[in-house]
Amino acid sequence: HHTSFDMEVVCVIPGQRLGSTTEYEAGPGTYVHNNFIYSSLVGLTHPSKPQPGQKTILTVTKDTEPTIIPEIGSVTICKVTKVNPRFASVNILCVGTKPLRETFQGIIRVQDVRATEIDKVEIYKSFRPGDILRTEVISLGDARSYYLTTSKNELGVIFAQSVAGATMVPIS
């Protein structure tokens, strides 16, 4: 059975046929099989027409928080757990602006702390356990953790507390 999805918000389940690729484009939450677009989530359809000439894009979104995991290039918010001369270990708390249900592990290697003078970086002077950082994922890393970097201007420590508990102020 086939329903027209133009400008109509309908609740769908995975595997439900939404339309054919001749009339619609597949957006997030859908997949294409044999020239038909099917939903891959339980949620509501959101047809959207980006421009008059183009096909309507079908998107399915969940009403609960979407499952997100860190991907290469995504900006994440992390908290430092451990530092050692070669890298700092962090817990990835949020991807973009969305908090994760369960934290992932990441590491920032000494060469990824900043863009300049990377051989003179001292991790102890850059991060402390408990600091909150904004980082970017550079690779899926090894078995235990994602590899992250803070070597861009907008990345780095965003919140830190001193030994006495006072909030520290950024100087660079």
Binding site: G15, Y31, Y38, L41, P66, T67, E102, Q105
Partner: protein
């Protein structure tokens, strides 16, 4: 190994050839009063375990199965794969689940086999390559087994995965059929399963019309097997509609 209890020999196998015991009723009807191709009433509900990513509960009269899904979350070293997520399952009978036989706390070989069956039946229905390095963990507990527990577990796990919002190709529904003497009956209860000479369990993605898993046990001839498979496929489609209703609400 459970060191404090004396357990029987680990691997005993029943002989394949069985004298089929006739069904108690003389007309050949099922003792429960159901028709040969009549399924039990099913109750499905999602969101029953709040701390899990997704969960579902399936009840078919006296067979009760609950499933919790955790993940996708970062996998331990040995279970990891860089290309896709790993699906693991822990299927367990509650100690009080089966009539007369107390299940132990440690999963035995049968439960481990069913865990693998569940993974096989559900793997192809999830977009695992969207979550590399992650693991999706299914925990299935059979609270009461009155026949068809494996089929109910597959249905329950698929519902739980959908309610967790994990991207899937389609919902998987499953059911089973048994051959007793010359009769094929669908959705056998535990007494009928015990008396069967052969049985078939089918897991199917109804919207795409693809079977994800077939398991056949015992001795069945070709005609009986194909008839049982067809009955199961129809049953799976019916269960799919119930799953759909449960999710949309």
């Amino acid at each position: 190994m459970d060191k404090y209890r004396a357990s029987g020999p680990e691997g005993t196998v029943r002989p394949i050839m069985k004298v089929p015991r006739p069904l108690p009723s003389s007309e050949g009807a099922r003792p429960s009063g159901r028709g040969m191709d009549q399924f039990r009433h099913m109750f499905l509900k999602t969101g029953v375990i709040t701390q899990a990513s997704g969960s579902a509960y399936v009840e078919m009269e006296r067979t009760k199965v609950i499933c919790g899904v955790y993940g996708p979350r970062l996998a331990a070293q040995k279970h990891q794969s860089f290309e896709k997520a790993v699906l693991t399952c822990d299927y367990k009978y509650a100690t009080f689940a089966r009539k007369g036989k107390r299940a132990g706390y440690i999963p035995d070989q049968n439960e481990k086999d069913v865990s693998m069956t569940l993974v096989q039946a559900l793997e192809s229905s999830i977009f695992l390559d969207k979550f590399p390095k992650n693991v999706i963990e299914l925990y299935v507990l059979v609270m009461q087994d009155d026949g068809g527990a494996v089929g109910a577990a597959i249905t329950c796990a698929s519902l739980a995965l959908a309610s967790a919002g994990i991207e899937m190709v389609d919902l998987v529904s499953a059911c089973s059929a048994s051959q007793i003497g010359k009769q094929i009956i669908v959705d056998p209860d535990v007494d009928e399963e015990r008396n069967q000479t052969g049985g078939v369990t089918v897991a199917r993605m109804s919207s795409l019309g693809q079977v994800t898993h077939v398991m056949q046990t015992g001795m069945m001839d070709l005609r009986a097997t194909s008839q049982a498979l067809e009955l199961c496929v129809d049953g799976c489609d019916k269960i799919y509609h119930l799953m759909r209703k449960a999710l949309i609400e």
